[in-house]
């Protein structure tokens, strides 16, 4: 159901809500500006994101709509990860999508927030929401087709007005 640990550095609090959302929280012994820099400066990202593996940062555009693509090299294999930034609030928040090359179409929406605890420590909270095949099937059966038809109708009107 839920596992949690005391809020100490190095201990993550993990909770699940719903069956497709994962939250991980942890407190690090570093002020928020350092944490922010480690999360957004490519030369720093390369030093930790790869979990000890070589990391190529092919794309890193931390602005709304910008792309990111990192490739990890481990044991002769490469693993590509990518997504788009949906929201970037300096020092506070990064919202982006996350996909792994190995499971195309399985997208997680990651929201990472930083909270300055005022004593030189920072709370990092991540919420990952998984968009599953079931969700997509549900969308199709519950009105997305209607939305598509409305879009087509609007396109028809635009085309009609141009003729």
């Amino acid at each position: 159901m839920t596992t949690s640990a005391a809020q100490q550095p190095g201990k993550a609090t993990v909770t699940l809500s719903g069956d497709r959302e994962i939250r991980i929280e942890r407190i690090v012994n570093a002020p928020r500006d350092r944490v922010w820099k480690a999360l957004t400066d490519p030369t720093l990202i390369a030093q930790w994101w790869g979990r000890g593996n070589t990391l190529d940062i092919e794309k890193h555009e931390p602005v709304r709509g910008g792309h990111w693509r990192y490739v990890e090299h481990a044991h002769g294999e490469t693993h590509g990860f990518e997504g788009r930034f949906a929201e970037v609030v300096p020092q506070e928040k990064i919202v982006c999508t996350f996909e792994w090359d190995g499971m195309p179409g399985h997208v997680a929406l990651q929201t990472l927030t930083l909270e300055d605890l005022g004593d030189g420590r920072t709370r990092i909270s991540t919420v990952s929401l998984f968009h599953t095949g079931t969700d997509r099937d549900g969308m199709v059966s519950s009105g997305m087709e209607g939305g598509m038809n409305e879009s087509y109708a609007a396109l028809d009107r635009v085309l009609a007005s141009m003729s």
Partner: protein, 111 residues
Amino acid sequence: MVQYRALDAAFAAIADDTRRRVLERLGRGDATITELATAFDMTLTGMKKHVRVLEDARLVSTEKIGRVRYCRLGPRRLDDETAWIAKYHTMLDARLDRLEAFLERTKGDAP
């Protein structure tokens, strides 16, 4: 803090990093509870609890032969999607570990 809706037993079982790693380990071959406890540097009692949760979710089955309890994957298999979410979870945890270690290592460096 969080509203719990109906949780899939398998998903709840894999919410824990140790249990995810136990599944990975059993994916490479059957093991006894003692072997698992040793591999994960845990007490026998602690490992028994984890195996029990996995067993309740039907992700692991156990069989006692003589005085030894053997664990293997199944009968239920994680579907691709649940497996991916578990892997993602482990990855994110590992990345945050690395981030934390990096912040410790570079403490006092020029900002």
